[in-house]
C-alpha cells in the first residue's frame, strides 16, 4: 500500500452536480454530488483503498477531503475528477496564464486516504475560508 498517489486533476460539469445545484447548494444532494473524487479503480488499488473511502486531495494551493468513488464516466489511470463546485475549488489553482481563467483542469494533486476524517459541508468550507463559519446550524 502506498500512502500517496499523484494524479492529474480535472474539474468538470456533471448532470448530478447540475441537478443538485439547482436544488440548492446547501442541500444534502449537492453535498453528495460534489464532495467526491472520481478515480480509476487501478489508482484506488495503488492507493490501497476501496471505493467510498474518504481521501485528502492536496494541490499547490490547498487540500480538501472528499470521497473517492469509481468513475460514473470512465476515467483513465492517472486522471482524477472532482465535479465542479465548492469542493473542487478548494484545490483549483487560481493561476490563469494571463487569460482570466483559473487552472480548473490539468493540475497535479496528491491523494492520500483519510478514512476516519469527515468531509466538510459546502457552507463550512466557504464560510470557513473567510472567517464567517459559526458551526453547524
Amino acid at each position: 500500500m502506498t500512502e500517496k498517489i499523484v494524479l492529474n486533476m480535472i474539474t468538470q460539469r456533471s448532470i448530478e452536480e447540475g441537478v443538485a445545484m439547482e436544488k440548492g447548494k446547501t442541500t444534502p444532494e449537492y453535498f453528495e454530488a460534489c464532495s467526491v473524487v472520481e478515480m480509476n479503480p487501478e489508482d484506488m488499488k495503488a492507493l490501497g483503498i476501496w471505493r467510498n473511502t474518504n481521501v485528502r486531495v492536496t494541490s499547490e494551493v490547498g487540500s480538501v477531503i472528499v470521497k473517492a468513488i469509481e468513475p460514473t464516466q470512465y476515467c483513465p489511470p492517472g486522471l482524477a475528477h472532482i465535479r465542479q463546485g465548492v469542493w473542487a475549488n478548494q484545490v483549483v489553482p487560481p493561476r490563469t496564464q494571463s487569460t482570466g481563467v483559473p487552472q480548473y483542469s490539468g493540475f497535479p494533486v496528491t491523494i492520500e486516504p483519510v478514512p476516519s476524517e469527515k468531509r466538510k459541508g459546502a457552507l463550512e468550507l466557504v464560510q470557513g475560508a473567510v472567517g464567517l463559519w459559526r458551526g453547524g446550524k
Binding site: G18, K25, N89, A122
Partner: protein
C-alpha cells in the same frame, strides 16, 4: 383550473430550449408541473416556487448575522459601495436577462466599475481565440438540418446540456438530414469516456492537456504532411481515420467546451480549433461553436459588445473610455492581485465557482450578492439582495449558445415585493445620480411603448 403556459424558455443551460410547457396553479402563483425539460431544467422551475424564497434584502450585522432591510436601503448601500470604491468589480450575469445587462452597463459606466461576466472563468478563452482568429459558426438549426459529421471536443453535452443532442446535434431529423442520427457520424475527443463519448462513432481519448498537439496533427494531416506515430496519446491511424471522416463531410460541425478552455493553453486550444475549421472549409462546409454554459451567458457578450465594444473584462474606471485585457481586467486576476476594492456578484455564485483563494481576496472588501436564492456567495456577503428569477418570474431577451436571441416568457409572479435585476440596477443608477448630483441620461426606455401612429400619407 390550472393552466398550461406553452413555449416557455428554460433558464438553465446554453441550449436555451424554448419549448417547455408549465402547468401553473389556479391563482397563477405556483408551478405544478414542468413538461419537456431535462432533469436540471425541471429543478430550476420547482426551486423557484419553493416556499423558502427570500423576499427582502439582508444586511450582515457586526455579529455576523443577517438582518432584513428594505430595497431602498439596499439600493442606497450598493450605490455608496460603488461610489466609494476606487475600482469596484461587478461580476456574473450568467443567469439574468439582457435587460439587466443593459441596465448594469449604465451603472458600471457611471460608477467607474469593472464589468465582467462568467465567461471570464468559462469560455473567456474562446473570446480570446475569436479575437485572434475569428469564428466561422452557424445557428443550431443549421446543425440540425445539414450536419453529417459532428465533433464534440472537450465537451460533454449529455451532462452539461442534456437536451442539446436531441434538439440540435445528434438525434434530430432535419430538412436535409431526414434519417437523424443514422445520417450523422459523431466523433468525441475527450480524456474521459464520457456519456457523450459513449454515443460517438469514434472516441479519441486524448491525453489530458494535449489537445493543441492533436489539433495541430489534424491540420498537418489535412495539408498532406506526415505526422509522428503517436500524438497526444492517439495513434496515427486513429488520427488519419478521424481526419478522413471530417474531410468527407458535406456539413461538419465542431462543438467544444471547457475541456479546451480550462486547461493549459486555454485560448490557443480554441484558436487552433478555429484554424482547423477554416482549413476544413476548403474541402467541405464547416462550422464551430462554443458550448456556452448558461442560458444567457452569451447575452452579456452581445449587450456589452454593442455598448462598449467588448464582451467581457471591461474596465470602465477611466470614465472616458473602456479598456479590456483579460489577464489584467479579468475577475480572477483582479482578485488575486488585490486590484479591486469592492465586489458585486450577480446572477452567478462566485462563492462556489471561484477558486477559494480568489474568494478570500475579494472578501477583504465590501461584497454584495444579487441572487434569487441562497448560494455560497450570498452566505459570505455583506449584503444579499434577492431578485425575481428570470425565465420564471421575469421575461426578457436571452442569447442562446449560438447567439440567437430568444424572447423568454414570464410564467408566474415573483414573491410579493421582489423586484427584477433590471429594476434594481435602474434604481441603483438613479441613486448614484442623486448622490453625485448629476442628471440621469436615459435613452427612451423599453416598456414605455406608445400607441403606434401611422404615417400621414
Amino acid at each position: 383550473m390550472p393552466k398550461i403556459v406553452t413555449d416557455v424558455g428554460c433558464p438553465y443551460c446554453g441550449a436555451s430550449c424554448d419549448d417547455l410547457e408549465i402547468l401553473v396553479s389556479d391563482d397563477g402563483k405556483k408551478i405544478l408541473e414542468v413538461y419537456n425539460a431535462c432533469a436540471i431544467g425541471n429543478e430550476v422551475f420547482h426551486h423557484a416556487s419553493s416556499p423558502d424564497r427570500l423576499k427582502r434584502p439582508r444586511l450582515r450585522q457586526p455579529d455576523g448575522t443577517y438582518q432584513e432591510i428594505s430595497y431602498d436601503e439596499a439600493v442606497d448601500y450598493t450605490a455608496k459601495v460603488l461610489l466609494k470604491a476606487k475600482k469596484p468589480l461587478i461580476y456574473g450575469f450568467g443567469s439574468t436577462n439582457c435587460e439587466a445587462m443593459s441596465a448594469v452597463g449604465r451603472v458600471a459606466e457611471k460608477s467607474g466599475a469593472v464589468l465582467d461576466n462568467c465567461a471570464s472563468i468559462c469560455h473567456g478563452p474562446s473570446f480570446l481565440a475569436i479575437f485572434d482568429n475569428g469564428y466561422p459558426s452557424c445557428t443550431l438549426g443549421e446543425v440540425k438540418n445539414r450536419a453529417d459529421v459532428v465533433v464534440f471536443w472537450g465537451c460533454n453535452p449529455m451532462h452539461a446540456h442534456p437536451r442539446h443532442t436531441s434538439r440540435y446535434s445528434i438525434f434530430p431529423r432535419g430538412f436535409f438530414t431526414e434519417k437523424g442520427q443514422r445520417q450523422r457520424k459523431m466523433i468525441s475527443i475527450d480524456p474521459r469516456e464520457t456519456e457523450t463519448a459513449k454515443l460517438a462513432d469514434i472516441h479519441l481519448m486524448v491525453q489530458q492537456g494535449h489537445d493543441y498537439e492533436l489539433f495541430d496533427a489534424f491540420r498537418t494531416v489535412l495539408r498532406g504532411h506526415d505526422i509522428p506515430d503517436e500524438v497526444a496519446g492517439i495513434r496515427k491511424e486513429a488520427i488519419l481515420e478521424a481526419a478522413g471522416i471530417m474531410k468527407n463531410a458535406r456539413f461538419g460541425m465542431i462543438f467544444f467546451g471547457m475541456g479546451c478552455t480550462h486547461t493549459d493553453g486555454r485560448n490557443h486550444n480554441v484558436d487552433i480549433a478555429i484554424s482547423l475549421t477554416r482549413d476544413l472549409n476548403t474541402v467541405a462546409k464547416y462550422s464551430i461553436m462554443a458550448m456556452r454554459g448558461h442560458y444567457n451567458i452569451a447575452g452579456p457578450g452581445q449587450v456589452w459588445s454593442w455598448q462598449f465594444g467588448f464582451p467581457y473584462c471591461i474596465d470602465l474606471t477611466k470614465g472616458t473610455h473602456a479598456h479590456m485585457n483579460p489577464g489584467e481586467t479579468s475577475s480572477i486576476d483582479l482578485a488575486m492581485r488585490d486590484e479591486v476594492d469592492a465586489f458585486i456578484n450577480i446572477g452567478t455564485d462566485a462563492g462556489a465557482h471561484f477558486p477559494i483563494d480568489a474568494v478570500k481576496h475579494l472578501r477583504k472588501h465590501p461584497f454584495i450578492t444579487i441572487d434569487p436564492n441562497i448560494c455560497m456567495a450570498s452566505e459570505i456577503s455583506d449584503l444579499h439582495i434577492p431578485v425575481a428569477v428570470v425565465g420564471v418570474e421575469e421575461a426578457g431577451v436571452v442569447y442562446r449558445m449560438d447567439n440567437v436571441p430568444i424572447q423568454f416568457k414570464k410564467v408566474v409572479d415573483p414573491p410579493e415585493g421582489v423586484i427584477s435585476d433590471e429594476q434594481l440596477f435602474d434604481r441603483v443608477y438613479l441613486r448614484i445620480c442623486e448622490l453625485t448630483e448629476t442628471e440621469p441620461t436615459w435613452i427612451p426606455a423599453k416598456g414605455h411603448a406608445k400607441a403606434p401612429v401611422t404615417a400621414g400619407q
